[in-house]
């Protein structure tokens, strides 16, 4: 068994026990990168060669020297008998939306292509303090704005390890592809509408969006500040739990970070689902969405394979002793996407204000007559299409004359979405759920360039994931099978505030119950092709 076939949990144990050195693990991980990743994304990446089209391209910046220093330091500490933490020697990648000191931090945008962060984000700091070795920064949709990673200014953008002709999902596509392709064990992603869970589903890995505030956002370049959640991407549920245990908790630099104590999420992870009440909602078994002209709710059915995978997961959990509650009513989830369009864009437009060519990042190299022309040219040249669309819409719906109609109304609907969850999870309510089970995505990974450019359709990839962001509740996507085309299908569990433990327990039970399933034995195509 190759080193990287082990989980992060197992690797850390081996490194702690001296059975493996951190440098051994790092070398193995870098070999994986060399074998499957191809060239990193760069600005003006040029035409794709045939080889490019077969590679993963998870990385924007590989920080090999830094990783080596970290790995050597860990080995040295182990030699001197020090306790190096629960992620000892575990190779990880960081979505390039987090600041890492003295490391390029691009947000996959031309406007930050030359930005080298002078400080390190809290979650990264905590992972590294726990012994993790950072391989580098991985690709994403520009500023996380997208669901396919294609909108990155750094091309080639990441491709799906299961089928490199397909997208890895997004925006944490670099993270999920890297984990699926064994380029490291774990990756730090962000989830604003499903940006961890949707690509996790597409790449056949585990992705968790923790409760809003469970993990500090300090050092995460903001998209929708009231929605953004840093979260783990891992190959299995236990690794995700381990990673969250290390990252979560109060932070004096983020006052929105929850001060609630952090449990060790590994404790009791194997307690099973006996007696757990898990809900299924018809509102998550169709794509329901309001007609943009009339406001009537239109409905589109899901592909059979997606539906079947979800129902199969329910049966599997029921067989483990869970009680399945059907027909849970979640009527407001249908408004999740339109509400998200308004709220996230208002916040995004404001969050993008600071990129003005004055202090850091890109400034137009051409002549400018005055300050305003410098702003205009810098932002016109520095931002790609997706940030521009968000700025336009965000400015529009928060303008004094429209704010009441759009932004304020969206905030009200957001609280209605939240109250659907409160009802579903209410211990004295009609459903008394511990978790809601849904498909993660309405489709499997789509072909590169298939939907890119049509941002409304692409956003429906987040239809089932975005309500948890509105409500602030935690949700996890775990692999639930493969489609007839051999593409991963994700199943999705949503739990009440701070009930990550429930998600890990249910996910771990599902993994155990399906451990011998044939689909679990299949490896992503890029690994097979590379003989790994």
């Amino acid at each position: 068994m190759a080193i990287l076939d082990h989980s992060a949990f197992e690797i850390a144990k081996k490194v702690q026990r001296g059975e493996l050195t951190a440098v051994d693990v790092l070398t193995a991980a870098l070999d994986h990168v060399a074998a499957v990743d191809g060239r990193p994304g760069t600005l003006d990446g040029g035409a794709l060669s045939e080889e490019d089209q077969a590679k993963v391209h998870a990385f924007i910046t590989l920080t090999e020297k830094r990783a080596r220093r970290q790995a050597e330091a860990i080995d040295e500490r182990i030699r001197t008998g020090e306790n190096v933490g629960p992620l000892a020697g575990v190779p990880i990648t960081i979505k390039d939306i987090y600041c890492v000191k003295d490391t390029p931090t691009t947000a996959a945008s031309r406007i930050l292509a030359n930005f080298v962060a002078p400080y390190t984000a809290t979650p990264v700091e905590r992972l590294e303090a726990a012994g993790a070795v950072t391989l580098g920064k991985v690709n994403l949709d520009e500023f996380t704005y997208g669901s396919s990673t294609e909108s990155s200014a750094f091309q080639p953008s990441t491709r799906n390890p299961w089928d490199p002709a397909r997208v890895p999902g997004g925006s944490s596509g670099g993270s999920t592809a890297a984990v699926a392709a064994r380029e490291g064990c774990l990756s730090l992603g962000t989830d604003t509408a499903g940006s961890i869970r949707q690509p996790a589903a597409f790449c056949g890995v585990v992705g968790l969006k923790p409760t809003y505030g469970r993990v500090s956002r300090y050092g995460l370049i903001a998209f929708g500040s009231s929605l953004d959640c840093p979260g783990p991407v891992a190959r299995d549920v236990r690794d995700a739990a381990l990673m969250l245990s290390v990252m979560a908790g109060a932070d004096p630099r983020d006052s929105t970070a929850a001060t609630l104590p952090v449990p060790n999420y590994l404790d009791g992870i194997d307690r099973g689902v006996k007696g757990m009440r898990i809900g299924l909602s018809p509102d998550y078994m169709h794509i329901n969405f309001p007609d943009p002209d009339t406001g009537d709710i239109l409905s589109q059915s899901l592909p059979d394979e997606i539906r079947a995978a979800t129902l199969r997961a329910a049966e599997t959990l029921a067989a483990q002793g869970a009680e399945i509650i059907e027909n849970v009513s979640m009527p407001n989830s249908a408004y999740g996407i339109p509400v998200y369009f308004v709220i996230s864009r208002v916040e995004a437009a404001s969050n993008l204000h600071r990129f003005d060519g004055v202090k850091y990042g890109y400034r137009t190299p051409s002549e400018f007559r005055d300050l305003h022309e410098m702003y205009r040219k810098t932002r016109a040249e520095g931002f790609g299409l997706q940030p521009k669309l968000r700025i336009l819409m965000g400015m529009y719906v928060s303008a004094a004359q429209y704010s009441e109609h759009y932004y304020q109304r969206a905030l009200k609907v957001r609280s209605m979405i939240r109250s659907d969850f409160e009802t579903a999870f209410d211990p004295g309510g009609p459903y008394q759920l511990d978790a809601l089970l849904t498909p993660t995505t309405p489709t499997t990974a789509f072909k590169i360039a298939d939907i890119y450019g049509d941002s409304v359709l692409m956003q429906y990839a987040d239809q089932f994931t975005v309500p948890a962001n509105h409500a602030g509740v935690p949700a996890i996507s775990i692999p639930g099978g493969l489609s007839s085309e051999g593409l991963p299908i994700g199943i999705h569990l949503i739990a009440p505030d701070f009930a990550e433990t429930t998600l890990f327990r249910a996910g771990y039970a599902f993994e155990g119950a399906t451990a011998d399933a044939d689909w679990r034995k299949v490896k992503p195509r890029v690994l097979l092709q590379a003989g790994l």
């Binding site: 931090t105 400080y119 956002r217 500040s225 630099r253 006052s255 929105t256 916040e347 404001s350 993008l352």
Partner: protein, 480 residues
């Protein structure tokens, strides 16, 4: 002239004197420090940073709100005010919009005629300061040191009716800020900044006419001069058949004149929305009660009390409550002194204030403690020393830090009022100057002053002048 009245509202920005900035750990005060030397990722608006609210700024803001009789909200919010400017590193200012820390409030300004003018407060909220830009050699430089310094923005209703009233408001506000110890309130250093909105209207009208906004006035005298100038300009314009336009005017301090900065046709849209990076600001009842409890007696209240309780003239009460240490000094001295408050007031207004001005310190920093002052005045009252000795004694106490009684004993300053000692001096004087005595007795009564002076010289000024006069008079009459 008399058919118009001015309608003035003031928008002030008050820099709170907290130790650190409002959303990060940088120190708040960067006065005379090199540009961009007092910044961190948070106040410089780097990608990924988040604000964390400084409790001291909230406390000081709440104190001001309470002193302005505003309601302190238990739940308030921060909002983003979005606009582009090079000295605003995030491209938005974290401010408070519709649910600010304080609501309502007013200040009753005492007017020279004894009446008072109520100035209502429209807005009182916390926000972060922006940086500074300057042009030099065709280039624009930005300094972020001031970014994130805590400010209170406080805006009045258009309740002021003259430049003098506007100046009076600022004087009272500055006094209050220093009194509460929440701001240095130095206009020259930008701790207290003021923009004035000025319009005119026919006397008797209740309407509001087009106003202009005067910016960059950095002293109270400049505010007064700029507003007066603008009122005259508007009157002349309207008299001449013109119309006031909504300009923004810049005060040019070097040349004492107003310059048009820009026309203001439309209100800027700042696209305010609740700051998602900060939780709602929730204060407990206990916290609010504690802040209200810590609110001292305010200067104008104390001023009134001094007039009523001590029977001081308005002029005295005003000066004695000019700052908090001075008014505390007065009351502490009065307690020891126990005599006529007006006598004490005279001593303070003449001698102590001169001393404070010369030393450039506040009353609480004097070595001449209130008890020392009271002791000196008591000695003068008793006749143990005379008034000029008392005055010079104050200086000696201040310089040496020694109690006045010790100095009097050590230097033999006690007044010579022992009749026998004085009579001996007088007898010797008359015996030594028979010609002068003869001239006096012959009608040259103007010589009396000369005799007084000789006695004083002989006693090194320690003779009680009243008693000397009496004894000398008797001796010269030949009745001694």
């Amino acid at each position: 002239m008399s058919e118009y009245e001015a309608v003035i509202g003031l928008e002030t920005h008050i820099q709170l004197n907290t130790t650190t900035k409002i959303f990060c750990g940088c120190k708040a005060d960067s006065w005379e420090e090199p540009p961009n030397s007092n910044i961190c990722p948070v106040c410089a608006g780097l990608p990924g940073v988040l604000p964390v609210l400084n409790e001291q700024a909230v406390r000081k803001g709440a104190l001001l709100g309470a002193a302005m009789q505003a309601e302190i909200r238990l739940r308030s919010f921060f909002d983003r005010k979005n606009y582009f400017y090079p000295d605003l590193p995030k491209g938005y200012q974290i401010s408070q919009f519709d649910q600010a820390l304080a609501s309502g409030g007013y200040l009753d300004l005492p007017m020279p005629d004894g009446a008072s003018r109520r100035v209502n407060i429209t807005k009182l909220h916390l926000e972060e300061d922006a940086g500074k830009t300057k042009y030099e050699g065709g280039l624009r430089y930005v300094d972020f040191n001031r970014c994130g310094v805590p400010l209170v923005e406080m805006v009045t209703e258009p309740d002021l009716r003259s430049a003098d009233e506007a100046a009076q408001y600022l004087i009272r506000l500055r006094q209050l800020l220093r009194w509460l110890g929440i701001s240095e309130a130095d206009m020259e250093k930008g701790h207290l900044r003021c923009d004035a909105n000025v319009s005119i209207r026919p006397v008797g009208s209740r309407d509001l006419f087009t106003k202009t906004e005067i910016k960059n006035v950095n002293s109270i005298e400049a505010v007064r001069a700029a507003i007066n100038m603008e009122i005259q300009r508007q009157i002349a314009l309207v008299e001449g058949g013109g119309r006031v336009e909504a300009w923004t005017l810049d005060w040019d301090d070097a040349h004492n004149r107003l310059k048009k900065m820009r026309s203001k046709e439309t209100e800027a849209d700042y696209r305010y929305f609740k700051e998602p990076d900060l939780l709602p600001l929730v204060l407990s009842e206990d916290w609010r009660a504690e802040v209200l409890e810590s609110l001292p007696e305010l200067p104008l209240e104390r001023r009134t009390r001094f007039m009523i309780k001590y029977g001081l003239p308005e002029y005295d009460a005003d000066i004695l409550t000019g700052d908090r240490p001075l008014s505390n000094y007065f009351e502490a001295a009065l307690e020891v002194y126990g005599g006529d408050p007006k006598v004490l007031s005279n001593w303070i207004m003449n001698d102590v204030l001169r001393m404070l001005n010369e030393l450039g310190i506040s009353a609480d920093k004097l070595s001449l403690k209130p008890g020392h002052l009271a002791g000196v005045i008591k000695m003068v009252d008793k006749g143990a020393i005379n008034a000029p000795t008392g005055k010079s004694l104050l200086v000696k106490v201040q310089e040496s830090g020694k109690p006045p009684e010790d100095i009097v004993a050590a230097e033999g300053l006690a007044q010579v009022s022992d009749d026998s000692a004085l009579i001996q001096v007088i007898d010797e004087l008359l015996a030594a100057n028979p010609d002068e005595v003869a001239s006096y007795r012959g009608g040259k009564e103007g010589l009396f002053g000369w005799f007084m002076g000789q006695v004083m010289r002989e006693t090194r000024g320690q003779a009680d002048p009243g008693r000397t006069r009496e004894l000398l008079m008797n001796a010269l009459k030949g009745e001694g």
